[in-house]
Each structure stands twice: as C-alpha cells, then as structure tokens.
C-alpha cells in the first residue's frame, strides 16, 4: 500500500523502497523520499544511523542494494556536475590555492584549449563567488592556511560555481566553534535564497536542522515494524517529516518555545531507543512525503 501522492516527475529527487546493506547488515531500509525544487531539506538522526550513507547514495559515490533513486526523473549514476557536495573535511584540494580550488570545476569541464583561452573569464567568475563569500583577501592562500569557517566557505563556492541541481552537505559545520557556526548558518540561508538552490543538509545538531530547514527529515532505526526477532538488524527509515515555516535569516528564532518543542519531539521520535512508533504511525506531514508499506506492515493498522 502507498500513502502520499509524490511522483518522480514532480520531484527533483525521488527515492522509493531504497535499501542499502553492508555485508548482511541492513543500514537503510525502505527509504521513501521525494524532494521538490528549492527545498532546504535537513536530515537528522542518531549517530551511525546511515545519514552519510544516504547522502553517498544520492551523490552516486555508492550504489543502493535495491530500490529506485532518481534525479530529475533519471536514475542516479556516478557523481557528476548535477550534484554538488560539501563534506565536513576533504572538500578542498590541499595542493591548490583558494582561487585554484574554486576555478577548478570550470577548468575541468572545459577542454584544455578552451581553459587556456577563457582563463581570465573563469578567474573573474570565481572571484565574484569569492567576493560573495568575503574571501577576496585570501585567494592566494592554501587550505591549510585557512580557518575552519573559511575553508567551508571556499568549499561552498567551489560547488556553487558549477550551479548544481542539488547541493548535498554532510555535517559541513560540524567542526566549527559555535560562533562561526551561527555565522555560517545565516550565510548559507542567504545563499540558498539568492541562488535559488535546492539543498540536502545532513547534521546531527537538531537545533541547526530546525533552524535551517524548510523541511526536516528524521532518519532512525528505532521503530517497530512488526517483526518479532530481527530487531537488531533493522535498517533506518524516515520516521518523521515536518514542514518548517520560512523565517527571516536571524538566529533569534532559536529562543521561541515552538522551536524548542519541535526539537524535543524529534529527539523522542528519532533518538530514543525505547520509544518505538509503528511504521504506520510515523508523523509524515510534509506534503511531499509518501510511504510504501508491505502487506505485512499494513496489517499493523488496527
């Protein structure tokens, strides 16, 4: 049975019955997900539940064990320019300067001679991004000479210059101090508005997820699927999916009570091993949300 009406045609990203196993360990089980254009999706979940794994599948760095995974209606292949990625580490090439890192995508996608001919043009385009990131004073520096926040800004510029259909981010601000982190959050919201981006953002920080997202997805292995014994090898699913109101780009909203209540709620639904909802009771209230259920799971509806 199927709940929800999302279709591959209307979504930029679409997954159905997506499953990933490592050996005989199930990591992701029956992920159903549709993402519309210009959505800022944040994905939270307990440590080790498979958030990065899901992101690697979307990126094409790894293959799913089974299931459908589509980008703009076409099956996802190996990584290409349609998807941008910002990791917590390793996003920048250590042997290139800031400017070279940002211009790299332009150079790689052009032929050798074209790259030569249009070098000035490419550099200028990179500079405009670096200006926007407030990095124009640091273009000659190497990544190891930058602070954590600057490094992530370069990484974002490096991805943005390719104008990807969807920007994937895996705990990009996880290693930053709280102050820098808030600055970066405000900054990424501004970019998301200005460049009309679609973002898929993994974090383990609930506050960050609820603050940034227009939609928060909770991935968790803590749920009841009606199987008696196989509980310990149960893969994660999306156990909650909330739309979030669009806010002004100010961090003051973090003080509001509603904000705190939602965080508490997500903490219980996704992070409490003792609290197990049945698969049929997940709170999937976002309009794009859908769920496919096996007949066995269907029988749990009483």
């Amino acid at each position: 049975m199927r709940r929800g009406t999302a279709s591959p045609e209307a979504s930029i990203l679409y997954a159905e019955d997506l499953r990933k196993e490592y050996g005989n360990r199930v990591i992701l089980e029956d992920i159903d997900l549709a993402v519309s254009e210009h959505e800022f999706c944040t994905l939270v979940g307990p440590s080790g539940c498979g958030k990065s794994t899901l992101l690697r599948l979307i990126l094409g760095q790894e293959r799913p064990t089974r299931g459908t995974l589509l980008l703009d209606g076409r099956p996802i292949g190996y990584p290409d320019t349609q998807r941008g990625i910002v990791y917590q580490k390793y996003s920048l090439f250590p042997h290139l300067t800031v400017l070279e890192n940002v211009v790299l995508g332009k150079k790689l996608s052009a032929s050798f001679f074209e790259g030569r001919r249009r070098k000035a043009e490419f550099d200028q385009e990179a500079m405009s991004f670096l200006d926007r990131m407030k990095l124009s004073d640091h273009i000659e520096k190497y990544p190891h000479e930058l602070s954590g926040g600057m490094r992530q800004r370069v990484a974002i510029a490096q991805s943005l210059i390719m104008k990807p259909r969807i920007l994937l981010m895996d705990e990009p601000f996880g290693a930053l101090d709280p102050g820098t982190r808030e600055d970066m959050q405000v900054f990424v919201l501004e970019l998301w508005e200005d460049f009309n981006m679609t973002i898929f953002f993994v974090t383990h920080d609930l506050e960050e997820a609820v603050y940034l997202g227009t939609r928060v997805l909770v991935l968790s292995q803590y749920y009841a699927a009606g199987r008696a014994d196989k509980d310990d090898n149960q893969g994660a699913r999306i156990v909650a999916d909330y739309p979030l109101a669009r806010r002004a780009a100010s961090t003051a909203v973090k003080e509001i009570t509603q904000f705190g209540e939602l965080i508490q709620r997500i903490r219980r639904e996704g992070f409490d091993p003792a609290y197990r909802q049945r698969v049929t009771e997940f709170d999937l209230r976002h309009k794009d949300s859908f769920q496919t259920l096996t007949p066995e799971e269907n029988n749990m509806i009483d």
Partner: protein, 276 residues
C-alpha cells in the same frame, strides 16, 4: 619561575648555540681520535698505510682530483664522479618515473591493482643483490647492467609506496572531483598526480641510500671507472689515503642530493609538509 634545564632531562630546551656545539662535538671527537691514533702509529712506523696523515690524504686528492692522469688523459676523481652520478641518476630517475605511474594507477584502478599488486609485492621482496649475477648475464657487465640493478632495486619499493599513498587519498576527493566535471583521466592526472608528486620526492630520498649501495656493489664487481670501482681498485695497495677521501666525497654527494630533494619539496610543495 622554574628555570628550564639546558641539556639534561626530558624538559631540556637547549638554545641554538648549544645545539650547534653538541651537534658538532661528536664529529670533533671522532676527528681528534683519528688524528691522535694516526700520529702515534706514524711515529712508530713512518711507512704505516692504515691511518694516513691529513697531509698524505691531501696529496692523494691532489693527485686524483686535480692532476690529469697520464694513461686515461682525464682527472680520475672527476671521471669517477661523473660516471657514478650518471648511473645513479638514470637508474633512480627511471625507477621514480615508472614507480610513479605504476603505483598511482594501481592506487586508483582496482582492475590494475588486482592484476599487479601481488606481482609487485613479490618482486619487491627479492634482494636485488642476489640477482646481480643474473643482471650481468642478461644485460652485460657494462652500463646497462649497473643501471638495471639500481632501477630494479628501487622501482618496486617506489611503486608500493606511491600505491599506498594514492590509496590514502580520501575517496571523497575523487567524488568531489567528479562533481566538478572531471573525467576519469582528469581525476588521475589533474587531481591525484599533483598531490602525489611531493611524496614521490620523499620516497626517492629514502631510496637514495639503497641506490648508492647498489651502485658501489656493481662497480666493485665489474667496471672500468666510478667511485666504487676506484675504492675497490686501490684497496689492493692498501691506499687508505685515497679510500678515506673517496668515502667522505661519496657521503658529501649523498648528503647534497638529499638536501636538494628536501629543498625542492620545501619550495615547490610547501603545502605538503605544512598540511601533514
């Protein structure tokens, strides 16, 4: 305030001048001991050859390095140095190039790795000197045999090291490069290769010691010139006054080559040592 100990204990923090002094001290001692021993022995027996005086050694160097040899028509030490350097540079240079391309491609292409890694591992364990007779039989006792010994003695080590280093590059970097529009070829030659280059220089530095060993061994066995050849030739006449300056000269050459590589790494790849 506790005063820092200058020299003793785990908290010692010797100032720069003291570092220099304690670094030079063992050398001074060594030279001092030699001069004393040499002096005493020559007092007892003026014909002693085992511990020649500095004067004798200077004479020998003058003879070898600055006088044109009547028989060959050239300065012997210069000729020896050039021949030896040519062998070591060609042998090690080819090993570096082959090792770089083999190791790097094995690191990124699982198919190639599966095919070659067991073989390369096997070959790298064969003691190169053990196959020296084979090399002399196959490639002859001339230049090719010696260069091949240096080449085969280092190429598999370099390959394995570069392969390891390539595998250490996070998979994320490859995925990242692909999202920036790189082709597979560009990933290997524009993203991986420049990151591996400094490591290649480090590996070559580490291989230099072994390369000198192979060079001198092969020159000792069959040659008509070269630093190793000369040392083993004059050994027959117990000419320590030639051997000792030659050994010092070889050490200096090794040190300079090492220094050169270190400087190139620091100048051209300063991000490498800084980012470690």
């Amino acid at each position: 305030m506790v005063e820092e100990p200058k020299l003793l204990g785990i908290h010692a923090n010797p100032p720069a001048w003291l570092r220099l002094v304690i670094g030079l001290l063992p050398f001074a001692l060594l030279v001092g001991v030699y001069l004393t021993v040499s002096h005493i022995r020559i007092e007892n027996n003026p014909a002693d050859k085992l511990t020649p005086s500095v004067h004798k050694m200077v004479e020998a160097v003058q003879q070898m390095a600055f006088t044109v040899d009547g028989r060959t028509g050239c300065r012997l030490m210069l000729q020896d140095t050039l021949s030896s350097l040519r062998r070591i540079v060609i042998g090690l240079g080819c090993a570096a190039i082959v090792g770089l391309f083999l190791g790097m491609n094995m690191g990124v292409l699982p198919g190639l790795r599966g095919t070659l890694l067991p073989l390369v591992t096997f070959l790298s364990i064969i003691p190169p000197l053990a196959i020296l007779p084979i090399l002399f039989i196959v490639f002859g006792v001339d230049e090719l045999g010696k260069v091949m010994l240096i080449f085969l003695g280092s190429v598999f080590m370099i390959t394995r090291d570069i392969h390891n280093e390539t595998e250490k590059i996070p998979r994320e970097q490859v995925a990242k490069a692909l999202t920036l529009g790189a082709s597979q070829f560009q990933v290997i030659y524009q993203v991986i290769l420049p990151q591996i280059m400094p490591r290649l220089l480090v590996t070559v530095r580490l291989c230099l010691g072994a390369a000198w060993l192979f060079l001198i061994a092969s020159e000792a066995i069959a040659s008509t010139d070269g630093l190793g050849y000369r040392i083993f030739l004059v050994r027959r006449y117990l000419a320590m006054n030639v051997i000792i300056p030659y050994v010092l000269w070889i050490t200096l050459l090794g040190f300079l080559m090492d220094l050169l590589l270190r400087l190139v790494i620091r100048w051209k790849y300063h991000w490498y040592s800084a980012a470690e």
